[in-house]
């Protein structure tokens, strides 16, 4: 009888531990990627505006400012890309040390609408990438970011995309350095970059 109580007690403890573990895992996930998360090297293989395959490896030696978005997005994406454009202008001669990337999370539609005209409207330095669904998911997983298609009758073509709106900074060795959360003023991004050159 006592043994049975002990058994039940152990089960309760085990389940409680599982719940706490799951809870902390979930909490970490939902915060997105913390600024002080352990170093990792995100990778991608995605087609550019002209259909050429570009990989993370070819950008070694440069800082990357990476934004995941979609061109049908009227509010968050234009705001962030405008901020990136401002940073690129303000960098002056240091601009060559930084490559801004726009990774489409809605690649099929964005290729159809035209990716080159979109990125160029913000800044000629911004390179647009739009891979296959599989390649895009792999890139997002590697950057530890989230995106999801949401059906919405009140959006173009009946859907919109939910996504992590941060701007991600990758170092010249390919290592993750930090994210700038949505709405970080361009001046702050600029001064952060300037401390790293």
């Amino acid at each position: 009888m006592r043994l049975r109580h002990l058994q039940i007690g152990l089960w309760v403890a085990a389940i409680a531990a599982m719940i706490i573990f799951a809870g902390t895992r979930w909490a970490t996930r939902s915060e997105g990627v913390a600024e002080n998360s352990p170093a990792f090297t995100p990778v991608f293989t995605l087609a550019d505006e002209e259909g050429r395959i570009r990989t993370s490896a070819e950008f070694r030696g440069k800082f990357l400012l990476v934004f995941f978005g979609f061109t049908n997005c009227p509010d968050v994406c234009p705001t962030t890309l405008s901020d990136v454009a401002q940073v690129m202008d303000d960098l002056g001669a240091d601009a060559e040390k930084v490559q801004p990337l726009f990774v489409s999370i809605d690649p099929e539609r964005d290729r159809r609408l035209g990716l080159a005209a979109y990125t160029a409207a913000f800044h000629p330095a911004i390179l647009g990438l739009a891979g296959t669904e599989t390649e895009t998911q792999a890139a997002a997983d590697s950057f530890k970011i989230f995106y999801e298609r949401e059906n919405d009758a009140a959006s173009p073509d009946g859907y919109s995309m939910a996504h992590s709106p941060g701007l991600f900074l990758i170092g010249p060795d390919g290592e993750w350095l930090r994210q700038f959360t949505y709405g970080t003023p361009p001046a702050e991004i600029l001064s952060d970059l300037q401390t790293r050159f």
Binding site: G32, P74, P78, A121
Partner: protein, 157 residues
């Protein structure tokens, strides 16, 4: 006909202070209607505006319409747990004695089915429908992609 009307509207492009006009409707005043350049006509435009309610009765913005777009809708950008989404807003509260902004990163009008790409310096009318006060039309000014809002400092009201 619709295109002709739109062309006529766009050709009436006025001074840069257009977005700084204040239009009143009962206790509501509506100002700073602005939009951003679009890259082609196939992608939605955006509509931002300021509304203030000096009355004692709560009201709400329940819809927008414009000759510039076939399907204008109200949306809200929500960033929750590190993920941005853009749900459709059925109505935007305009409580008594308060003002509400449709501005980047929050509530905004999404102009789908544009009749033409929006170019810097263009202007077009948007009619706002309020639950109680009824309808009012404001002129919306198209600003550059990098604009953060109209500069009304020297508008002299």
């Amino acid at each position: 006909m619709k295109h002709l009307l739109l062309a006529a509207t766009l050709s009436l492009t006025a001074s840069a202070a257009l977005a700084c006009e204040t239009v009143t409707l009962g206790d509501l005043s509506v100002e700073h209607g602005w939009s951003k350049v679009t890259i082609g006509a196939g992608r939605p435009g955006v509509f931002y505006v300021s509304i203030s309610n000096v009355g004692a009765t709560d009201d709400a913005l329940v819809g927008i319409s414009t000759p510039a777009a076939g399907m204008p809708m109200l949306h809200e950008t929500v960033v929750k747990d590190g993920v941005a989404s853009m749900p459709h807003a059925m109505s935007i509260p305009v409580p008594a004695g308060q003002s509400v902004q449709l501005s980047p990163g929050g509530y905004h009008g999404m102009l789908m089915g544009l009749t033409a790409a929006l170019k810097e310096g263009d202007s077009f009318p948007v009619t706002l429908s309020f639950e109680k006060a009824g309808e009012v039309t404001v002129n919306v000014e198209v600003l550059s992609l990098r604009a953060e809002g109209p500069d009304c400092a020297d508008a002299g009201q």
